[in-house]
């Protein structure tokens, strides 16, 4: 069952990336998810919680939100620049998300790929190349 879900997630991620030449191979995504989990545990879990369910009124969940599933440039920018005072899917949060400029392109790509393919989320992978482009224009 686990494998079924995983392969579905991977197929989904792969499908939405097929137009991009930089799309990593399936095994690449899997490895990215594994590395991303470690980044998540160290950098994100404190606020967004183990199961990404967040803290009501304070830190938003990372489950099927517009930001998590949506535009990758905007999503990468949230990690690079942090976020404050923005409503998430109609709810306001009093917490502050600090910027994470010290994370490498690879780490940001991995953690976002992990988030977008965990906690019930299914979305395409984020690549280090994509992070690099966004960081350069940031």
């Amino acid at each position: 069952m686990k494998y079924l879900l995983l392969s579905f997630a991977l197929a989904f991620g792969f499908m939405s990336l097929t137009s991009k030449p930089a799309a990593p191979a399936q095994s690449g995504i899997k490895a990215s998810i594994t590395r991303g989990k470690q980044v998540y545990l160290q950098q994100c879990l404190a606020c967004h919680q183990v199961d990404a369910s967040g803290v009501p009124n304070m830190n938003p969940p990372l489950i099927k939100t517009k930001q998590v599933l949506g535009d990758k440039t905007a999503l990468i920018k949230i990690v690079l620049n942090g976020l404050k005072g923005v409503d998430i899917d109609g709810d306001s949060y009093n917490g502050v998300m600090a910027p994470h400029p010290d994370l490498t392109d690879r780490e940001i790509a991995d953690v976002l790929t992990y988030v977008r393919n965990s906690f019930g989320n299914k979305a395409s992978a984020v690549t280090a190349a994509q992070v690099k482009v966004v960081r350069a224009a940031n």
């Binding site: 404190a46 919680q49 183990v50 369910s53 942090g82 009093n94 502050v96 600090a98």
Partner: protein, 411 residues
């Protein structure tokens, strides 16, 4: 028909007693209001009429007056007013005081605790800083015409970049001139502001206070501070996750005019029983500050989030409760990846105006089970406390579908 019976059944069970809350022998909790809204603080008039303030508007209103006219324990007359959400709710000398995140208002009450002019409250304080973080303005009053307002620090530990690894603390912390403390105002003077003068500042060096109460026995203000977050996240070289889950202590302070409790420069380590220098200011978990700040009068485990404080002055509960403190611990979020803790109401006995140092869990299981001990899964999160004229106490729940319980003692 089945539906109606089911509904009646539901009403009956919640009316008779609340099985979920675990209480000491002889105590019983009754659900006054459930599935209602995010109920923050609560105040009870001398005739038993209950006022609650909501953190989110419900049907466009933020304050609800609840009256039980037939004595069945349920409010049958509910009146909504106040078009601002908020936390603060207190009654003194015939007025109901209510705070938004920027202002404090008061409403005149008549002898039956009816709101005389619900559409036109008097604005008592205006222009309070609200910058997202720690912005609710908890309030209480003394018995000499003064109003006390918490203005929480809009920061975790006054770093140059809030909550960012490696960012140092600002010295001196500029937040303290207009937040991070308790401000005192006259309870009956309209439109007071606080600007940059320190005239109104009562106590400083407090990160954020939500639970506060005036103690009639000591005739002084007591507050519960929400301690700083993220020691192991920001400084893994000094604290591991396990230590960080317990540190720093959630502290109770007895305040006097001019009290300085040391935020953001220090925090209180309940294991070493001392103040240690904050890591943003050169601390390593052991170094003590060169300046000594006021010590807490009682220290609880970290991150439990004390949102309500009530000194019990009633005669209904057994004698040991008299003049002791009830504290509503909203429940932690900052213990991850360690298990979360809290979601209960604690009792701390006092003798001659001083805490005995012991404390115990009084009302437990707000979360609804060990698998629900997390802020997003907890069925209920205790927040506000108040005492009724019959000596029962009320506890609120500020989850989105929260409500109110009444806890009584029966021999």
């Amino acid at each position: 028909m089945k539906l109606i019976i089911g509904f009646l059944g539901l009403c009956l069970t919640s009316l008779v007693s609340n099985a979920q809350l675990k209480l000491p022998a002889g105590f019983k909790a009754v659900t006054v209001l459930s599935d209602f809204g995010s109920v923050r603080h609560i105040a009870v008039a001398p005739n038993g009429v209950v006022f609650i303030h909501l953190g989110r508007l419900k049907d466009g209103k933020g304050i609800y007056r609840l009256q039980d006219t037939n004595g069945d324990g349920k409010p049958d007359k509910i009146f909504a007013f106040g078009d601002f959400p908020g936390t603060g709710m207190a009654i003194r000398d015939g007025y109901l005081y209510a705070s938004s995140d920027e202002e404090v208002f008061r409403y005149k009450l008549d002898a039956d605790a009816n709101v005389v002019n619900p559409g036109h409250p008097e604005r008592i304080v205006t222009g309070l800083l609200a910058r997202g973080e720690h912005q609710p303005k908890a309030i209480t009053l003394d018995y000499s015409g003064n109003l006390y307002v918490n203005i929480g620090a809009y920061s975790n530990a006054c770093q140059i970049d809030d909550r960012q690894k490696g960012s140092p603390g600002r010295m001196p912390c500029p937040i303290l001139d207009s937040a991070g403390g308790i401000w005192q105002f006259r309870a009956d003077v309209p439109n007071q502001t606080y600007g940059n003068d320190h005239d109104h500042r009562y106590a400083t060096g407090l990160r954020n206070v939500v639970g506060l109460d005036w103690n009639r026995q000591t005739n002084s203000l007591f507050v519960m501070q929400h301690g700083r977050d993220q020691l192991s996240y920001l400084y893994p070289q000094y604290w591991n996750d396990k230590q960080s889950a317990e540190l720093p202590a959630e502290c109770m302070y007895e305040l006097h005019k001019g009290s300085d409790c040391g935020y953001p420069y220090i925090f209180y380590d309940q294991f070493q029983h001392k103040q240690v220098l904050g890591p943003e200011y050169g601390g390593d978990g052991k170094k003590e500050p060169s300046e000594h700040y006021q010590d807490p009068i009682l220290a609880f485990p970290g991150h439990l989030a004390p949102d309500g404080l009530l000194f019990y002055t009633g005669d209904q509960f057994p004698a040991k409760y008299k003049n002791g403190a009830f504290i509503a611990f909203h429940g932690s979020w900052n213990r991850a990846p360690e298990p979360q803790e809290g979601f209960y109401v604690v009792f701390a006995p006092f003798e001659n105006g001083k805490p005995t140092g012991k404390w115990e869990i009084f009302a437990d299981n707000f979360a609804g089970g060990p698998d629900k001990m997390s802020p997003s899964k907890a069925e209920h999160r205790p927040c506000g406390l108040a005492q009724g004229p019959d000596g029962s106490i009320y506890v609120t729940d500020d989850n989105r579908n929260g409500g109110v319980w009444k806890i009584s003692y029966h021999k």
